[in-house]
């Protein structure tokens, strides 16, 4: 494996009903996005615990994106509304701690939006790659 070129590591949490299906559709339509994006399937975006996001960062992820059904379309009627509040507050807190705000994102992707899924992943991967490696959360408690 060659590691000369910096490749970001991106973890994408996708809800089973909309965004994971959207990712499948991107595949069906052969819409490319970087292999740096690794998807974890969750039943609903509201299953994503802030702990999972921090864990990913701490273990070396450079960006974490959460994808869920559009507001109003949640399979479980209201899960994504809770996600929206939780993530708004969490992202704001990470920014407050000096973690780059571009490393986290919440996107609504429907099962019909394969193209949006691919475009979102391309854009996010590019943004994260431009930031470079994520060191800050790991280093938050170690003063060099």
């Amino acid at each position: 494996m060659q590691v000369n070129e910096y490749k970001p590591l991106i973890v994408a949490f996708c809800c089973n009903w909309c965004s994971y299906a959207g990712a499948d559709l991107a595949g069906n339509n052969r819409l490319n996005y970087p292999a740096d994006v690794k998807i974890i399937r969750v039943p609903c975006s509201c299953r994503v615990n802030p702990m999972f996001i921090l864990r990913a960062f701490q273990r070396g992820a450079d960006g974490v994106i959460i994808c869920g059904c559009h507001p109003g379309d949640c399979h479980y009627t209201s899960g994504n509304y809770y996600t929206r509040r939780r993530m708004a507050l969490l992202f704001s807190m990470l920014d407050f701690l000096g973690i780059e705000r571009e490393r986290t994102r919440l996107e609504w992707v429907s099962a019909a939006e394969g193209a949006k899924f691919a475009a979102t992943m391309n854009d996010f991967a590019e943004t994260v790659a431009a930031l470079g490696e994520n060191k800050r959360l790991e280093d938050l408690r170690c003063k060099k």
């Binding site: 973890v11 615990n49 864990r55």
Partner: protein, 664 residues
């Protein structure tokens, strides 16, 4: 430690084209727990599945990882394969290396590398998988239908026809609903009573159906298959089982000036009454607000004339508890109030009426015995103006009207106009409309006949003002096509008033924890694919409570709801989705945070005793998840601070293992 088998699928060249499947299976063999690995052209084929089954048996596998297409495609297939091999189906995890890898990455090296990582994540997850069994709950084989209009009647008949007992709860003294008030029905012009009343009789005679008329649903507890309902049977002061419906009491009742609801107040009834001749149940009801005997103990005539001895002035409200497996909401609709529409002078003139009042006016059993006479002077009207979309499609007037289209008005207005011209060819009939919407079988033909054969004058435009002057109604309107103002001296104005859900729907939705839209129509579980089910399991929707509907549509939805109910009641036990939340009682704080975010009301609390370290017992409040109600979204797991709440199949430890595997 699990014994895991890894099966990498080529999917022909779909995966093998951009992922080195051999390298993937080789790379995964050293992962923790992996004791067997292989790859094959089509894992989902019978031959591929046989490889899995043989491997499970030969290597005593406890977990399976299939690196293949999306789990949305073949998770169910491989779960069945696992079951066939004697494994718990939930010991299977899929690494999606087709849709989310080989199909989106062109480069073999990066595709292979990613496939390996996805495989590792799936292996990490399977290592923490536990066998899951769907929970089972019994089904009470009885249905409750709330509302006894045509929707409720049809649903009840269909359910009863399948052999299940059904109870209908109706707030009025009789079933029949709005359809019983109609004269003719479009587009065939059958008389409503002729097609409805036989069904009402069928309901009365069906020994599977019980009718709770003059009753309300008081309380609903429980969940799908096991609803516990309290029904309040209001005192009607007549013993239902004794009354023969002979009507002698009604004839002799001295209180004669009570506005008759059935005829929309256009004539009067007595204090003791039977709403109409074909009422079901055909029993009298005493209106306690009008009866002298009940108000001040002075009268008792009905009791004296009743030879059956059915009158009981001491009757009290009765509360009935019953268990149901399914609940059908069929609460129907009402025309909206005209109080805020002063421009049409509805409250100023008796000759401005609603379409429903017009139905009674033309009905042979109505206040004029079916003769078209205007209410103010009982003269025959020579010029009639029909106004459509009164309060419908009214985004600008949301505070008094409705934004939506009421759907049925175009057709019944065409019907009214046609019937008038048919019976009274000397009458001039105008219809003012925004659009004429006729999207139904034989609907447009019907409307064309009104225009072309019966000469109804359809004018595109809205009525601006109706002013009573002498015995005429001055109608000011615009003709949009001719581009001019019209002034018509009408004898009768008929308003096609918007319809809205019955007021009882909102509190009922709260009791059912069923969701509603902003207009108080019940929301369906899916607008296209599950149109007769509420998102709340075990609650079904029939008729206009879900949205404006005409009779054919209402009946088909009623039957559809019935078939869904039958599909539920025919089961002895309900098998749930095993991937649901559960609370670890030892860690639960009983703080109610999880219950606050649960969209299904699946979480309740009990006080439970726990042994403490010092050998005393301590009572704590702990959460309990109802497995029949939980749908497994996981909102509660994040709301729970202590982590006591976790989701089976998507446990925190499993997701974190996946994160670690990906980020390693």
């Amino acid at each position: 430690m699990q014994r895991i088998g890894v099966f990498v699928c080529w999917c022909g060249s779909n995966i093998a084209g951009t992922v080195d499947v051999q390298a993937v299976s080789e790379a995964l063999k050293t992962e923790p727990g992996v004791v067997f690995f292989t790859n094959y052209q089509y894992m989902c084929s019978q031959a591929g599945q046989d490889i899995i089954i043989d491997a499970v048996k030969e290597h005593n596998l406890t977990g399976i990882v299939v690196c293949s297409c999306s789990p949305r495609m073949h998770e169910a297939t491989f779960r069945k394969t696992a079951a066939a091999a004697g494994l718990n189906p939930y010991m299977v995890e899929i690494a999606n290396i087709r849709e989310q890898c080989s199909w989106v990455h062109k480069d073999m090296a990066s595709g292979t590398e990613k496939a390996i990582i996805l495989g590792k994540a799936a292996i990490a997850k399977v290592n923490l998988n536990a066998p899951l069994t769907p929970g089972e709950s019994p089904v009470t084989k009885r249905a409750l239908v709330i509302g006894g209009g045509i929707a409720g009647i049809q649903t009840a008949l269909d359910i009863a026809d399948a052999g299940f007992p059904v109870d209908i709860v109706e707030t009025k003294p009789t079933i029949g609903g709005k359809m019983a008030q109609l004269d003719k029905t479009f587009p065939t012009l059958d008389c409503a009573a002729c097609i409805l009343t036989p069904k009402m009789v069928d309901v009365a005679q069906n020994d599977k159906i019980r009718i709770f008329s003059y009753s309300e649903v008081q309380e609903i507890k429980g969940f799908v298959g096991n609803f516990d309902v309290t029904i309040k049977k209001k005192a009607r002061f007549v013993k239902e089982e004794i009354c023969t419906g002979c009507g002698a009491c009604v004839e002799k009742c001295p209180m004669k000036k009570i506005p008759n609801e059935f005829n929309l107040g256009m004539d009067n009834r007595r204090a003791i009454y039977i709403p109409f001749a074909q009422a079901v149940p055909k029993v009298a009801t005493i209106d306690p607000s009008a009866c002298n005997m009940l108000k001040n103990g002075k009268c008792g005539v009905c009791s004296k004339v009743c030879t059956a001895g059915a009158i009981d002035y001491t009757q009290k409200d009765e509360f009935i508890n019953e268990k149901y497996g399914a609940i059908v909401v069929a609460t129907g609709f009402n025309p909206i109030s005209m109080d805020k529409f002063d421009e049409y002078a509805y409250n100023q003139s008796k000759d401005v009426i609603t379409s429903l009042e017009f139905e009674r006016l033309t009905n042979a059993a109505g206040p004029t015995q079916g003769k078209l006479l205007r209410p103010s002077d009982l003269e025959h009207p020579h010029t009639i103006v029909f106004v459509q979309c009164v309060g419908s499609r009214c985004a600008a007037c949301a505070e008094k009207g409705k934004e939506y289209c009421s759907k049925i008005c175009c057709m019944y207005t065409a019907k009214h106009a046609m019937l008038v011209r048919d019976k009274y060819p000397d009458t001039e009939v105008y219809v003012f409309y925004i659009d004429v919407r006729t999207p139904g079988k034989n609907f447009d033909e019907f409307y064309r006949r009104a225009v072309e054969e019966y000469g109804v004058k359809y004018i595109k435009g809205m009525v601006g003002k109706v002013t009573p002057e002498g015995n005429k109604l001055k109608v000011r309107a615009s003709d949009l096509i001719a581009g001019k103002q019209l002034n018509i001296d009408a004898d009768l104005v008929v308003l096609a008033v918007a319809i809205e859900p019955d007021k009882s729907a909102r509190p009922l939705a709260t009791m059912l924890t069923a969701s509603m839209d902003t207009n108080d129509f019940f929301t369906e579980a899916h607008p296209k694919l599950r149109p007769v089910e509420s998102p709340t399991a075990g609650v079904f929707l029939s008729g206009a409570c879900q949205g404006p509907k005409d009779i054919p549509e209402t009946v088909s939805q009623a039957s559809a709801a019935a078939s869904k109910v039958i599909g539920l009641l025919v089961k002895d036990k309900l098998k749930g989705n095993p991937c649901i939340a559960s609370a670890n009682e030892l860690m639960c704080n009983g703080c109610s945070t999880c219950a606050n975010v649960c969209p299904y009301g699946a979480i309740t609390y009990i006080d439970k005793e726990f042994p403490m370290f010092d050998r005393t017992m301590q009572t704590r409040r702990v959460a309990q998840v109802n497995p029949a109600v939980c749908q497994g979204c996981g909102a509660c797991t994040v709301a729970c601070m202590s982590g006591a709440m976790d989701l089976r199949g998507f446990a925190s430890s499993q997701i974190i293992a996946e994160v670690d595997a990906i980020c390693r």
